[in-house]
C-alpha cells in the first residue's frame, strides 16, 4: 500500500497525497489498536464500528484491499463472530506497515 496511489486516484499533488496518507496511517494505527482492545474484551460492537469506519475511509482513498478486509471484519462482527479476526487484523497491520514505509522512504 503506497501513499502515491492516492495521487493518481484522487488527482491530487504529491504533498496532498502525503498529507492524506499520513492521516490514514495515523487513523489506521489508532483503529487497529481499538480492534485489538475489542478482541481482548470480546466487544464485537466496537470492532464493528471501527471496521465500518476503516472500510469507508480507505475506500475513499482508493485502497481497495484494506477496505475489503475491513468490510469482512465488519460483516463478521455484525453477525456476532470473533473468529478469523486475528488473520484479518494481521493483514491490516501489514498494509499499515507498507503505507508507513512508503511515507518514510519518499
Amino acid at each position: 500500500m503506497d501513499f502515491r496511489n492516492i495521487e493518481s486516484f484522487l488527482r491530487v499533488d504529491t504533498n496532498e497525497a502525503e498529507e492524506l496518507g499520513r492521516l490514514l496511517a495515523d487513523t489506521l494505527a489508532s483503529a487497529l489498536e481499538k480492534i485489538r482492545r475489542g478482541l481482548r474484551d470480546s466487544d464485537v460492537e466496537s470492532i464493528s464500528f471501527v471496521a465500518h469506519s476503516i472500510k469507508g475511509a480507505s475506500g475513499n482513498l482508493g485502497f481497495k484491499r484494506l477496505s475489503k478486509l475491513a468490510a469482512a471484519m465488519e460483516t463478521r462482527t455484525r453477525a456476532g463472530r470473533l473468529d478469523g479476526l486475528e488473520d484479518l487484523l494481521l493483514e491490516m497491520q501489514h498494509l499499515l506497515e507498507q503505507l508507513e514505509g512508503s511515507l518514510s522512504g519518499k
Binding site: 492521516l23 472500510k55 469507508g56 475511509a57 480507505s58 475513499n60
Partner: protein, 380 residues
C-alpha cells in the same frame, strides 16, 4: 473529538457543511471542495454540526449517518425541525447500502445519499447538482412571491378609497386573508346623483380569484349605468360570469344603487348576507333579500328591494368573514345578531371611524386570519 471548523476567505462562494466523525473523510472532502472553490465547514459530531448549520446557514450539508452519540438520523431530524435550518438541502453519507436506511434518510428530509466508499468526483457531482436544484427552487420561490406581491398591489389598486369618491359617502375596512383576496368591492359613479356600491365574495383566495375580481370590476364599469336598472345590470354581469367562470367558481354579491336625487335606494342581493339598514336616529335592522349566487346559473333570480331613504340614513354591507368564525364556532346566524347589537351604538359616531371601531369590538382587537373581511359603511 473536537469539532474542526474552517472558513475560507471567499465571501461569495457556496458553503458546504461536512459532518463525519472520521477525520480522514472530513479532510478528504474538504480538499476536494476547496479545490473547486467551495467553502468547507467541518464538524465531526452532531451537536457541533447543528450549531454551525444554524449560525452559518450553509448552502448544503453532507451528513454522515453512522456517527457515535447523535447519529446522522438524529441530526437531520433536528435540522428539519429548526426553522433556521429546515430549508438547507442535506445529502447523507452512508456505508450501509440497505434500502431501508436510504428510505429512512429520505423520509427524514434528505435530498440524496452517497454510499461510502465514494469517489470524491462523485461527491462533487452530487454537490453541484443539488446546489443547482436549490438555486432553482429558491429563485422560483422568490419569483412567485414577487408575482403575488404584484397581484396584491394590483388588487389594492382596484379597490377605491373614500378619498377617490368624496361624494359617495362611504368608509371601508378591507382585510384579505392571502395575497389574492376573495372579497372585493367597488364604487360606481353612475351620475351626479347616483352612486353604485358593490360588494362580492368569490369562492377561493387564490390567484385565479384575483382575475375574477378584475373581470367583475370591468363588468361593473360596462353594465352599471343610467341605461340599465340595477337588476338588469346584475343579470348582465351574471350572464357573462356564467360563461367565463370555471365550474367550481361563483360569487355572492350585494349591489346598492343609491339615487340621492329621488332618495330611493335599490338593493340587489345575490346569495349574500343581509344588508343592515340604520335610518337616522333609529335602530338598525336587516334587509333580507334572497337571491341566487352570481356566475352559477344562467336563469338566476336575485332578491330586490326598493327603499325610500333620508339624509343621514346608513347602510352596512359586509362579507361573511365579518360575522362567521370556524375557530370560535360562531355561525353566520349568531354572528349577524352580534353585529346588529354593536351597530346600535354607532349612530352618532362619524362614518369614517365606524369600520375600525366595529372590527375592534367584533373581534376584541385584531381579527383572526380565517377569511377575507370587507365592510362597507354608506351614508345617504
Amino acid at each position: 473529538m473536537k469539532a474542526v471548523y474552517r472558513e475560507s476567505d471567499m465571501a461569495d462562494a457556496y458553503s458546504i457543511l461536512v459532518v463525519d466523525d472520521n477525520l480522514l473523510n472530513l479532510k478528504l472532502i474538504e480538499k476536494v471542495l476547496t479545490k473547486e472553490g467551495y467553502i468547507a465547514l467541518l464538524a465531526d459530531n452532531g451537536p457541533d454540526a447543528r450549531r454551525i448549520a444554524a449560525q452559518e446557514h450553509p448552502d448544503l450539508i453532507l451528513l454522515d449517518i453512522e456517527m457515535p452519540g447523535e447519529d446522522g438520523f438524529d441530526v437531520i431530524k433536528k435540522l428539519k425541525n429548526d426553522a433556521a435550518t429546515v430549508t438547507i438541502p442535506v445529502l447523507f453519507l452512508t456505508g450501509v447500502s440497505k434500502v431501508d436506511v436510504k428510505l429512512k434518510g429520505f423520509e427524514l428530509g434528505a435530498v440524496d445519499y452517497i454510499v461510502k466508499p465514494f469517489h470524491p468526483q462523485e461527491v462533487l457531482a452530487r454537490v453541484r447538482i443539488h446546489l443547482k436544484l436549490s438555486i432553482a427552487t429558491n429563485s422560483l420561490v422568490q419569483d412567485q412571491a414577487r408575482k403575488l406581491r404584484q397581484v396584491t398591489q394590483a388588487q389594492n389598486a382596484m379597490l377605491p378609497s373614500p378619498e377617490d369618491f368624496p361624494d359617495a359617502g362611504f368608509s371601508v375596512f378591507y382585510l384579505p386573508l392571502e395575497e389574492a383576496g376573495g372579497d372585493f368591492y367597488d364604487i360606481l359613479n353612475i351620475s351626479n346623483q347616483i352612486t353604485g356600491y358593490f360588494l362580492a365574495d368569490s369562492s377561493g383566495h387564490d390567484i385565479g380569484t384575483s382575475y375574477i375580481t378584475a373581470s367583475v370590476k370591468a363588468l361593473l364599469a360596462q353594465n352599471c349605468n343610467l341605461v340599465y336598472s340595477p337588476i338588469e345590470s346584475m343579470r348582465m354581469i351574471n350572464d357573462v360570469l356564467v360563461e367565463i367562470l370555471p365550474k367550481e367558481k361563483y360569487l355572492t354579491a350585494c349591489y346598492i344603487h343609491l339615487n340621492r336625487g329621488t332618495r330611493v335606494m335599490t338593493l340587489v342581493n345575490a346569495g349574500h348576507p343581509p344588508v343592515v339598514y340604520m335610518p337616522k336616529g333609529k335602530k338598525p335592522f336587516f334587509i333580507k333579500g334572497q337571491g341566487d349566487i352570481l356566475g352559477m346559473f344562467a336563469d338566476a333570480t336575485f332578491g330586490i328591494k326598493k327603499i325610500a331613504v333620508n339624509k343621514g340614513d346608513r347602510f352596512f354591507i359586509y362579507s361573511d368573514g365579518l360575522v362567521e368564525s370556524t375557530e370560535k364556532k360562531i355561525s353566520w346566524v349568531a354572528g349577524v345578531k352580534g353585529l346588529l347589537s354593536i351597530l346600535e351604538g354607532v349612530g352618532k359616531i362619524d362614518l369614517s371611524d365606524i369600520p375600525n371601531m366595529l372590527i375592534s369590538r367584533l373581534f376584541n382587537g385584531k381579527p383572526m386570519s380565517e377569511d377575507d373581511i370587507v365592510l362597507l359603511c354608506i351614508e345617504v
